[in-house]
Amino acid sequence: MSGPRFRHDEAVDFLVIGVGAAGGVMVKELSAAGYSVVGLEQGPYLRENDYSHDEIKYYFRPGLTNDPKTQPMLYRRGEKDPFKPFKAVEYGRQVGGGSVHFTGNYWRFHESDFHERSLFGEIPGTGFADWPIRYADLEPYYAKAERELGVSGLSGANPFEAPRSGPYPLPPMPAKSSGVLFERAAKKLGLHPYPAPVAILSQPYRGRPACSNCGMCEAFGCEMRAKSSTLVSVIPEAEKTGRCEIRPGSYVRKIEVDARGRAAGAIYYDASRREIFQRAKVVVVCANGAETPRLLLMSKSNRFPQGLANSNGLVGKYLMWDLGCFTCGLFEHPLNEYKGIQVTRLIHDYYRADPKRGFYGGGGIDARFDFQPASFALDGLPPDVPKWGAEYKKALATYFTHTMGLLSHATSLAMEKNRVELDPDVKDAWGLPAMRVTYDAHPDDMKSLAWLQDREAEILDAAGARKIWRMPIDDYGTNRHLMGTCRMGTDPKQSVVNAFGRTHDAPNLFLVDGSNFVTSARQQPTATIQALAYRTAEHLAGAARRGELG
């Protein structure tokens, strides 16, 4: 941590709330453009030597994620169900946010993802809608994100990908055994496997070393600095400008508005729980698809009694979920999937929706393992293996090294009833209202998952798996791809922000993160979140230069 120290009582040009995947990009772009920036992040500022290869800490305990013991949350599936304590949403809670511990899958949207409503028509009971932007609007910013952060991949290898203005800055990672088996089987079936684009360095890049294949990647921090989090890529650059101050341990509880209804700054608890009010000319919230709506709902005032940016009551609504399905296969020879990065090969053949299937949906399928030793022993084995005893232990000795899985990343239709709200009773350790979440998937999403799981089994069969077992699909689990809740649009009655993340209610309040999403595409939202951040940052810098932000 380095950089200037700004005063609280003097307005900085930009106040960024939440320094994660989007916030990290934002602080860098705005400070590099010449503006003073304060980044408030509730979590700590970590370094490579703060991480460890400890499955218990990062898989079973919230080592790098939100902790329901101090920030409780509740969940229910249907409107009539009672809310129960459950870690419904999980996100990275440190400087760098979810980019620190994510798996690194870095998928651009397809062109059709921005206007699927026009292509496929209305889906009753949903908020299925076009985005107010098109792929071409975002393409330069996808390219910039890949370049600035460091993304490995092979352009042109995926025949379904949207047009690219240039190649990936780094060559793809080599295939693991799962990648080789998947590639062979997919080709046999006439599909088009290709090297996974990942925000992980296949070669040294901009002063950071390449990935050493340590294998403790998903859910872990990277000791090599090879995973292209904002923490190791753009945030240090922001601090080098001398105009950016990152304040870790700063938990924002309210955005204040002035007499004119403009954002004036934010009140936060510092690490010793002192209340501080930081003034700012412009406030940019990048607290993710779950915490951004929560903060807006907590920011009630006389002028905005329903919460800030919530005049139309849509803040928190249209939450989308990390829906997917997973099938495992056992092979004759060892794969040792615990080594290396999670995913090296995937297909987008089934990505696009096809009305002939009889439902809206589709997904990308990737080859991976998705387990560490203990998580595999608890949840990875097929149902016919005993849960305890000599047979159980014997199975572990072969299955752990001989198993791979196929994971589909699928649609989650936006529905108004799926939402993030404040709980009226439960409080967190700071006395703030806990988040409560209602989510149930649309029947089309469930049909799509069942259909995709059949495709997974087909591919594993073609790959020569000796045994295939499907993981249950009706258990949505914890949501880690936080999308929707403050959707963008042109109509102020139907959306919370415009195409640049500006709230319809307050002209100097911007929201830029997963909350902006109108549709879920096929998951892996981070590339699009960061492309949106680059686009909005450029817009903000331009507007500030022209004096339009006042």
Partner: protein
């Protein structure tokens, strides 16, 4: 990590340079293995013996060390003292229920640990769907396959059993199929 430093000093790896791997490994600060403690902190000895007997049924010795030998009971005691301290009541209530089931199945028996192997199996079969058994199974597995610094997985015996290694770096190929894919 410190555990396997000697393993990766030889050979070369993907795109990463050795100097970088070394630098990353040098700050790996966790102690490789917890020093064995002599005393239990949370569980009393009789309860610990019964818990250990159940854990040994979950992961028995035979083809290599089982739950007892790798120190699962030390892991559990430590977990209940530290990060899972709010599960103590679950153990108290769960073991009380185990006791009721045991006395019903085997009237006059003194403890789980004192039952025969077959009797212990019978006992586990009648509790295997309970929430407490789920917790015990999770703790047993974490004590067998979690990082040795938590007091279990002694000598990395759990990791060796399943074929896992904790390292700072691995070289391609990782398995049979990517090795063959390169030919």
């Amino acid at each position: 990590m410190g555990l396997s430093r000697r393993d990766w000093v030889f050979g070369s790896i993907g795109g990463a340079a050795w100097a970088d791997v070394l630098a990353a490994a040098q700050h790996a600060h966790e102690s490789a293995e917890a020093r064995p403690t002599a005393r239990l902190a949370v569980l009393d000895r009789a309860t610990a013996a019964d818990v250990e007997a159940l854990a040994e049924q979950i992961l028995p010795s035979g083809d290599g060390p089982g739950a007892r030998e790798v120190g699962v009971i030390w892991f559990i005691d430590r977990a209940l003292q530290t990060f899972d301290s709010d599960r103590r009541a679950d153990y108290r209530d769960g073991m009380a229920e185990v006791r009721r089931v045991r006395v019903k199945l085997f009237p006059g028996s003194a403890s789980v640990a004192a039952l025969s192997d077959e009797q212990q199996k019978q006992l586990v079969r009648s509790i295997e769907t309970t929430a407490f058994f789920g917790l015990l199974r999770q703790h047993t597995v974490l004590g067998f396959l979690g990082h040795p610094k938590y007091g279990g997985n002694r000598g990395q015996a759990g990791w060796k059993h399943i074929g896992f290694e904790s390292r700072m770096a691995f070289e391609h190929p990782f398995g049979y199929y990517d090795a063959r894919g390169r030919e």
